[in-house]
Symmetry: C2
Subunit: 349 residues, 2 copies
DNA sequence: CAGAATTGCGCAATCGATTGCATTTTTATT
DNA sequence: AATAAAAATGCAATCGATTGCGCAATTCTG
């Protein structure tokens, strides 16, 4: 039997009690010393810290969390982790959270209402201190989220928000995005500007369209309903919409596409038809998907500050966590127009 | 003063003690009943469960985790969340972990050695049950990972693995990837095939190069060292490498680029030089980045099964967690050659 | 130098769930 | 009916850190 083993493989992690025993002080003292509590003299504090180091002591956050009724963890739920926009948001959240000493737990809803309920409940059971979420497209009932409200656990929505729940919200300025795109096309000398809209039940898309209409109006251009085609904005929709627009008696000379996917598929279709971009037809997309920069011609688009959105979401959430009961705010992040080849008819000098 | 409030807003979450008091049984009984421990009669078990439901009881996983010394949490650390390959892996991990009742905590190293150390230590302190990691390019020392080994916490490496640490590992078959690419180029009738290699200290890149060399050999083509340019494979490297290759007395007529990024930048450079792809020069990339499908000409590349990799990583890890001490395995996932325009000189009939 | 003020530290309860062992209750056996 | 066996439940310690309160030691004050 040997006591006082040198520091080596021991079965269990050292705890404050082990340190206390070794130094013949109480566990409270050790705990306080490690927290730099002024009630402990500098001398003993140093002794304790040194031994803690030497023993390879690591605080057990589980125990601490239990005692403090706080997990120092925030949850984030997105439809699909594997989507550039969302992974960028997550990246931003992680950065801010990590710096603030929080852990980020992550789940995806796969855009399925019942998976969303399941993952949210799981986060709830795990006592996250707050939740950041972009809801699944399908979600109908929001009881699982109201649970958080009831227990007073902070909640931040981003991108796809739930209007009927009071909480911090972050969205991008789709209206101004649509406006800027349209204004840009006008500035480039395009005369008849068409628009591929997305499902107008989603605010995101109706705002873009409204921005488009507003810009036309402001430039004294009549809004022509026949120039707007509404679809789900998948790749095929782009092709169909272009066909429809080209068949018009008076077809457009520029198209504001609801997203980059349709912008791309339109471009490919137009190119095959021998229509030159941007000379014969200007194209602008939306969202700044990674590919829009590298395709040829590169696609002008609206950048949504996904990473920033994640950072802001985390900041709002941490703020709520640390000063509960403040009032809620809705942050509208600015969009940025990125002019690329697909719409740059007038070269800058 | 009113006791026996109806179920409504109460300050604190109900615990097993509250249930026990209400039912005049002990907390142990409640705990056991909720776990379906056979030592509790069906009758009392039902009574307990019903009341638990009615009171809106939710087990406190923190307390449970503390007692069980198990967090039911796995950690995943990647260089950058916001990269398609990694976010796809994460997505796969999340799927498997969630189904198995585990929570996934996530962090990014930003490819910085010291951030990696910090996040790994944080996960350690948070008592994750296991860790899945692709190491930062810069990492030099692996003490932070050896810590896990010492404490017998399962570890799974993927993509960028550490050879000197024994653990489960998952990589893609870079060797065969390189081989396939090269064979494909040969089959397409290209005669002199160059290669842009990545940092050869990383297995990933040296394997690709070795596959390239092997394919040449098998086809009776001499390996010409001057045709291989090594770099960090960022966009600019592609341009520099192409310039270098074109300046050779006997330049290549095809290039196997170490990744899609360099494949793209090379293509753009070549196009500006008036060199036609794939007619004058064949190009193949690696990784199947989303953009490689949509650029023009589309880029032939090697698909890495990222989502599958994540699933497998999670499976291996959970297996280790649940049956510790099994031997370690290295899983080599197959790669798939995706032939696109950039290398398809001979059209299929 | 006595008494007050300050400083340094320990006791013991707490967070909520789990579990080995002991005890009580019920059922079976002769 | 008495005892053995089995079933159901309770006691109390435990996981590791935190903290209000109280006691003891030290320093200060007049």
């Amino acid at each position: 039997m040997c006591f006082n083993q040198p520091i080596m493989h021991r079965k269990t992690e050292p705890t404050i009690h082990d340190i206390a025993r070794e130094l013949k002080v109480s566990a409270s003292t050790v705990s306080r010393a490690l927290q730099n509590n002024p009630r402990i003299s500098e001398k003993t504090r140093n002794t304790i810290k040194e031994l803690a180091d030497a023993m390879g002591y690591r605080p057990n956050t589980l125990a601490s969390n239990l005692r403090n009724k706080k997990s120092n963890t925030i949850g984030i739920v997105v439809p699909l982790i594997n989507r550039h926009f969302f992974s960028s948001v997550i990246s931003g959240v992680e950065e801010v959270a990590f710096k603030a000493g929080y852990t980020v737990v992550i789940s995806q809803s796969n855009d399925l209402a019942n998976k969303e309920v399941a993952v949210v409940q799981s986060m709830f059971a795990n006592r996250v201190d707050g939740l950041i979420i972009s809801i699944a497209m399908e979600s109908k009932s929001y009881d699982h989220l109201k649970m958080f409200k009831k227990k007073n656990i902070p909640l931040v929505f981003f991108d796809r928000v739930v209007p009927e729940i009071e909480a911090d919200k972050i969205v991008v300025d789709d209206y101004m995005g649509g406006f800027r795109v349209t204004q840009h096309l006008i500035d480039q000398g395009y005369q008849r500007i068409g628009h591929m809209a997305g499902p107008l039940s989603l605010m995101t898309y109706s705002d873009r369209k409204n921005g488009y209409i507003a810009a036309l109006k402001q430039n004294g251009i009549d809004y022509d309903e026949s120039l707007v085609v509404t679809s789900r904005l998948i790749s095929e929709s782009g092709v169909e919409a272009v066909q429809q627009l080209l068949d018009l008696p008076n077809p457009p000379d520029a198209i504001f596409c609801g997203n980059d996917t349709t912008a791309l598929s339109s471009m490919i279709y137009l190119r095959d038809k021998g229509i030159r971009i941007p000379e014969d037809m200007g194209i602008v997309g939306f969202s700044n998907e990674p590919f829009s920069r590298v395709v040829s011609p590169s696609i002008s688009t609206i950048a949504q500050p996904a990473f920033l959105m994640g950072q802001k979401a985390a900041e709002l959430l941490l703020n709520q966590i640390e000063h509960k009961g403040k009032s809620y705010q809705t942050l509208v992040l600015p969009t940025e127009l990125i002019v690329r080849e697909s719409s740059e008819r007038k070269k800058n000098i």
